[in-house]
Amino acid sequence: MPAVKGDGMRGLAVFISDIRNCKSKEAELKRINKELANIRSKFKVNLLSSNKYTEKQIGYLFISVLIEQNSELMKLIIQGIKNDLVSRNPVHVNLALQCIANIGSREMAEAFAPELPKLLISGDTIDFVKQSAALCLLKLFRTMPECINCAEYASRIVHLLNDSHMGVVMSASSLIEALSKKSPEDFKGCVSLSISRLSRIVTSTYTDLQDYTYYFVPAPWLCVKLLRLLQNYPPPEDPSNKSRLLECLEGILNRAQDAPKSKKVQHSNAKNSVLFEAISLIIHMDSEPNLLVRACNQLGTFLSHRETNLRYLALESMCLLATSEFSHEAVKKHQDTIINALKTERDVSVRQRAVDLLYAMCDRTNASEIVAEMLTYLETADYSIREEMVLKVAILAEKYATDYTWYVDVILKLIRIAGDYVSEEVWYRVIQIVVNREDVQGYAAKTCFEALQKPACHENMVKVGGYILGEFGNLIAGDQRSSPSIQFHMLHSKYHLCSISTRCLLLTAYVKFCNLFPEIKPMIQDVLNTDHNLRNPDAELQQRAVEYLAMSKIASADVLATVLEEMPPFAEKESSLLAKLKKSKPQQEEENAEKEKKARPSAVMANDSSSSTGVVSGSLVDVDTAQKEHTLSDVFQPSPAAASSDRSSVEMRPASTGGDPDVFNAVDYLKFVTKNNGILYEDDNIQIGCKLETRSNLARLGMFYGNKTGGAFTNFNPSILAGGSLGVQLQVQAKPLDAVVGAGAQVQQLINIVCVQEFTKQLIMHLQFSYHDKNSVQQSFDKCLYLPIFINKFFEPTEMASEQFFNRWKALSQTVQEAQKIFPAKNPMEKEAIRTKLAGLGSKLLDDVDPNPENYVCAGIVHTQSQQIGALVRLEPNTQAKMYRLTIRSSKDTVSKQLVELISTQF
């Protein structure tokens, strides 16, 4: 082959040497700009329309590399490409296709996507054009997924997998891999074709494929592509496909053990690229125990291979094997080698993989050893991975703790050796667990006390120690060595070395000591009383000091004991450590979600019946808010009950049973959640009915006041209270009424309501009038009633097909968007009754959507003036337990919560 060191491009050589001769950056820039101007002017002669290959190629190259996507020239370019696409010269067609693939703008997708599939599947198109056409189409699909009609061309595209040209098969498999993710059903034919193609390659000898054999490995890249394509589908069900695929996979595993045909690293890399992809497929299928174990053994031999790449990849791949029940035990056999990798690998990324694998393979049997090894490694671990390691150790220690003293020891050791990397979540969590587990509180207090006695201890240790001693210091106060005053002095010796937030926490611990150990109260008051605290520039610290001091002086022992009572157990939730870990690796977690679900141990602790408190795990941030609960500003605020007697600020809590004493229909007004008319209130004198009509975000409420007495009502005055935020959220306009309601008469009043924003409180009608009782004594009626206006009244029903429903359901997957409640059935769980209620909700009750026919799902849009909020409702009855689980997902968290509260009262 002749050397092609170029001379055909004299202008270019001149340009380059000019640039090299430039004396300054400015001169260089000037020369470049001149050349750019030349190029632009050349466009006038239009390189593209040249029939000379070189000019056309350079024209395309400049377009691909230099032209901005939104360039004005784009229209001209697209026209030029159009001309070349219909050219009889395949080289020109190919250049045009490569250019489209390189730029791949939306404009191009619109212009070319409709025509490309025809070119791709036409029998007249030659091979190298087909290759480009397939990948060009892939690029346009990625730019604009809707630009390709999959169903129309799917089967003909799939048949390209049978093409005799391996390059065409290669390009087609890339295209199909992407398209089949979007519409798996249309492309499912690719499964059997991929398997037979794969089988032909795997069973061939390296001489069969000639051009496509690479270092004695037959078509490694194509094999990987086909194996990857198969991972878009579940394991084949058809028996002949299945056995053929299993043969292929076994064949690939067998070849891994053959003696290498070459010592070159290219040979082993190519062979192993196929092997690793085959193992991925085996893990994806997760149905062949035999293959999973074989894969694990093969990877095991790589763990001590001299190639770092292979050790790295083996650790990575084993991580997934550890999550399969079939291969979990097989992975555990390699524990020692993996721990050794942690200690000896020079590349930090390999050590990181070892950590990941240890985390994935950890279970009850090996937890203590793995946690101990990880703790040892942590002391010398690379800074970049410490925080993640700390999280992992904390999660494992919690998940597999059989003895919680071990758990406490592990966490305190974590703080000691990697205190800076212990995030808030971790130390919040240990506090939650200690608070929730009575059996470990004394031990925790003792251990914290000992840790704090060391001369140097991390601030996180002070935080944990301060909190624990503040709660449970009394449990060790009997010991002379840890008497109340020693505990206090020891904590206070750290005080001045700590940050403001830690000092705030310590102040709370001190005031808690006032309650636990009245004998040291004067000491604590002295500390609180210093200028340093009382006049601290930090408002939070100052407030705590002032309030705690005042409280310790004013409040009686009983009040103190109540206010400073031991913290109640934290509510049970999934540990936020896992959330934190996931956040640190967003991309992998997303793509790997399915596998990760199995890989990450869930950190909800096992319930241990020996514990009297039971095991509860809670949101970690609760620790912080709970602490603040005890500042005096809250303690001396009017209780919620007192506050709600002020009519203007009545707060509705639909779930509460009692309700407000001043609202007379507080118990049964909730029945109006699922119905629009009925009797709102009735007594001997008056009957009040209502009838509600809504459209979009508007509601018209008709109120009917019936006078049941023999005399007239005078000074009849209904008024509407929309206090606080409700006044903004709802616009209410009531038609004025006559002040007299005659004996036996019924008057109607119309109230128009505009829902401006979503709301959670309840409109109240305050009704006053005078009447004469049976004894003709004048009485006054003065009562408040909740009006039947709920957020769901502004629902517009939405019809949805199953797929659509679940797509939206998935789209609303952020935790704040979902609200859920599990509650016992108050009424008989009869299908028709449930359906009637759900239909009355205003949203659309959807049939044949939920795969479980026992469940009910509804969809609707809540209309407010400011926005429309889509909401999905799912109600899952459990007739055996007589419970329901209700889940709402909506684009607005307040709406989800409010709907759950309202709907859960109905069943």
């Binding site: 092609v4 691909s64 190298f128 990948l135 390059g167 290669m170 190519a270 770092t308 990324s349």
Partner: protein
């Protein structure tokens, strides 16, 4: 899929940059610098793979040149590692013992080699014979 292909020398000079995702020019420049920073510090005992933002770089060094391919996290590492080598062998054959200057002076030819072997972020053709035959045919048109 491939996000970009970079050929850089040890000093960080870019000899080829081929982008398969849309990026602003200054973002490209930033990526080029970051890739250089994380690849050049690695030695022979390290793997040929580096985690890079939300992607990973698969790279191989040939004399003073680093050939780097940036791919998605879940892609097959060895597949791309050997794709690099295959590419280098084609360049070597095409330019008869390729050296850094060949890439500089014949950059437009390098682009056409790239487009023959990679397209739309995927491997297009792996057969060296086929690629070289096609390139020879194109050269004959000049």
């Amino acid at each position: 899929m491939i996000r970009f292909i970079l050929i850089q020398n040890r000093a960080g000079k870019t000899r080829l940059a081929k982008w398969y995702m849309n990026l602003e020019d200054d973002e490209k420049q930033k990526l080029i610098e970051e890739v250089h920073a994380c690849v050049t510090v690695r030695d022979a005992k390290h793997t040929n793979f580096v985690e890079f933002r939300n992607f990973k770089i698969v790279y191989r060094r040939y004399a003073g040149l680093y050939f780097c391919i940036c791919v998605d996290i879940l892609d097959n590492n060895l597949y791309y590692l050997e794709a690099i080598h295959n590419f280098v062998e084609v360049l070597n054959e095409y330019f008869h013992n390729v050296c850094e200057l060949d890439l500089v002076f014949n950059f437009y030819k390098v682009y056409s080699v790239v487009d023959e072997m990679f397209l739309a972020g995927e491997v297009r053709e792996t057969s060296q014979t086929k690629v070289l035959k096609q390139l020879l045919m194109l050269t004959s048109l000049e």
